[in-house]
Symmetry: C2
Subunit: 425 residues, 2 copies
């Protein structure tokens, strides 16, 4: 590790911790004023932001990105307007801080209140997406947390320009400027140093690909909330409405194949496979030329019907394709479907299609995933669709938050106890 960087990152984290104490007792009005100011600054800084973004796009790192990644990095006037609007939308959400979660009076007269409070200092580690920079800053600020942002090198100039606007908005609203800080270097040593500051930073949220998340989880002594891959399954039960099942698998697979709640695998009960698979395969191919990677039994059915498909390799059954590719297997029972899902899925989102209420209940109880759907597309596992108003990601962890993480999930709680001189005997 570069000797010069670690003390600089420690100093930055100390300033964040100091700011967190102020933020924790800052009023909703003051936080919203800072957010509205930021939205106005984004609107007024189109030229500067697009110029910084151009520097990133033209940099060697920016040029080396895939077309899809370049598209995510690129800003334009419409996207900036959308970004400013997203800031205003968070300002309009209810403040989670101070919410009374539980209240009880004990036999000895002590009154207990469990109250929602910010976590403290949150470190967010992400890749080259300017909207993530703003999203994370804004969600942390609204939930009263100080944020330390560490973005990808491909986005460094854009992030620096956005961070300058955030700092200006904080200062002009009377909030501590250190409430949101961008790590001023993309040197990996800075990240490694950051991940060890467990007395100053309370939570690390990595957002990005599997490699980034693994690196963070393996190197952090700070608790990490992971937003890991989605290997989502749709199971078509023997009692399924097959037209509904077809609509759901087409939507789950093809409506946005690059996201974590897209389906990657189809399980079909043997009793309906002959009837369902040919129709579903045709619909998937018609919708988005989906490549079907089939086990022997599903392949046999599609071969008979002369429908294009490929044999699945063992890795396909646990793969997150993020593309118009779907693994397909035939199963003999609901129990087998549940067992395969619990073994091979990533625990993100699974769906059963069935008209049999008992089968659905068994599936929802037995499948150990963050969201278990019945007769609905996996694509609904999302903070906005769940009514959280916003999300910082979809947790595949089991501690603290599971599934979509909104403002409330960016909070902790504390116990406030009111007595009249009670002592313990």
């Amino acid at each position: 590790m570069s000797a010069a960087i670690a003390p600089q990152i420690t100093a930055l984290a100390r300033r964040a911790r100091a700011a967190s104490f102020t933020l924790a007792v800052t009023s909703t009005t003051a936080k919203n004023a800072a957010l509205d100011k930021l939205a106005a600054l984004i609107d007024a800084s189109t030229f500067e932001l697009l110029e910084a973004n151009q520097r990133d796009l033209l940099s060697p790192e920016g040029q080396a990105l895939s077309p899809a990644a370049r598209d995510r990095l690129e800003l334009n006037e419409a996207r900036l307007r959308k970004l400013a609007d997203s800031v205003r939308a968070v300002a309009a959400l209810p403040d989670p801080v101070g919410e009374l979660l539980e209240e009880a009076t004990r036999p000895n007269g002590l009154v207990l209140r469990r109250v929602r409070v910010p976590i403290g200092v949150i470190g967010i580690v992400f890749e080259a997406r300017p909207n993530v920079t703003i999203d994370c800053a804004v969600l942390c600020l609204k939930s009263g947390n100080a944020a330390i942002l560490r973005g990808g090198k491909e986005c460094f100039h854009t992030n620096t320009a956005l961070a300058a606007l955030i700092t200006q908005a904080l200062h002009e609203s009377g909030l501590p400027g250190d409430a949101v800080q961008l790590i001023p270097t993309t040197d990996r040593a800075a990240l490694t140093a950051l991940l060890k500051l467990d007395t100053l930073i309370h939570c690390i949220i990595p957002r990005g690909g599997e490699g980034l998340i693994r690196f963070v989880a393996e190197n952090s002594t700070i608790p990490v909330i992971k937003h890991y891959k989605g290997v989502c399954f749709v199971y078509v039960d023997q009692a399924a409405d097959l037209a509904m099942a077809e609509k759901i698998i087409v939507n789950a697979k093809t409506s946005r194949p690059g996201v974590c709640n897209a389906a990657e695998q189809l399980l079909v009960h043997t009793a309906v496979a002959e009837k369902f698979l040919p129709a579903a395969a045709k619909a998937l191919i018609a919708a988005a030329r989906v490549e079907l990677r089939c086990d022997e039994r599903s392949a046999a059915i599609l071969t008979r019907e002369k429908i294009a498909h490929l044999p699945a390799g063992p890795a396909d059954y646990t793969a997150e394709f993020l593309a118009n590719i779907l693994a397909v297997r035939v199963v003999d029972s609901l129990d087998q479907a549940i067992a395969l899902i619990n073994r091979d899925s990533s625990g993100h989102t699974e769906s059963i299609v069935t008209a049999d209420e008992q089968a659905a209940a068994k599936f929802q109880a037995g499948v150990d995933s963050a969201a278990v759907m019945w007769n609905a597309s996996t694509r609904f596992n999302d903070g906005f669709e769940f009514g959280l108003g916003a999300e910082i990601g979809i947790s595949t962890d089991r501690l603290h938050a599971r599934g979509p993480m909104g403002l409330s999930e960016l909070c902790s709680y504390k116990w406030l106890v009111t007595g009249s001189g009670q002592v313990r005997t």
Copy 2:
């Protein structure tokens, strides 16, 4: 790492994971039957348990323990009866699994339910206390989690005897015997291997001294919930009822000085220091010969009154004494008290004594600790006192659980979504 141990631990964790799927859908009745069976087996196995315990007490490791640690290790008939009763008490608690935490119908007709479910597989790492072995096994079982227990070497024979009873109770109740497993060696390599099994184990809870907790936090790739030290403060405000303050500090310091919610430091507002400190010091000395380690201002007052005290060293202001020792400082304001606490306490439990409601509100909002008391002893931060019925420890983390961790805090949740064919547009 010993090459032979890691695969053995991995196999054990795989069996735990398999058992966790069964446990997650096991009825309350079946879980309670296993607990009642275990209580009966403990009652019926006094001879075997005391014999195993004697082996530990007479072993070189047992002989090397401090008298206090030996006392915690030692079992006798009365303690075994208490142990069996504690198992029955957990059986009598409500089952947290399946509790509906939230329900909502979205505009598109999807019905969302957030339902409490077990975390999955929990690893518990602890030292030489047989009651912890039973506590942890029983709380995990009741909350539907598979448990992997790793106890200290000084307690190995007692733990092995207790684990045999647990396995017998599970088998005789038709539950998977792998639901609770004891690591069959005290080799540290086994612990190191355990802490890396993040695909099989979902949470690690270390219970013990600072060294153990640090080792676990630094070596685990599995999320850890820490139950860290308690450097608890009592602040006597200028508007305090001084008789109440005296009673509270005496109770907080001396009722059980070896536990984490005992007070370690007294802050006194300068306006009441002259009057309060001499009386409080005399009461603390009278109650338990408390050694007072004073800053210059408090020392000056006690010197004038000829009351025994020592000068505090810098380390005393952040020390967990776990003994009849108390650091004492005089502060100029409520703000200064809050700032000192946020800098020097361990974020466990603090208490303000004051008749001024506004001062109390400011203290409770500003102090960033798991429990913030007003006119009550710090000793009340405890799962039983908070009405949780049981506790596996008191978390000083901010994620997932903060403060006492009972059965509900040993759970995660999942989202169950019921549709009628909805797809996302």
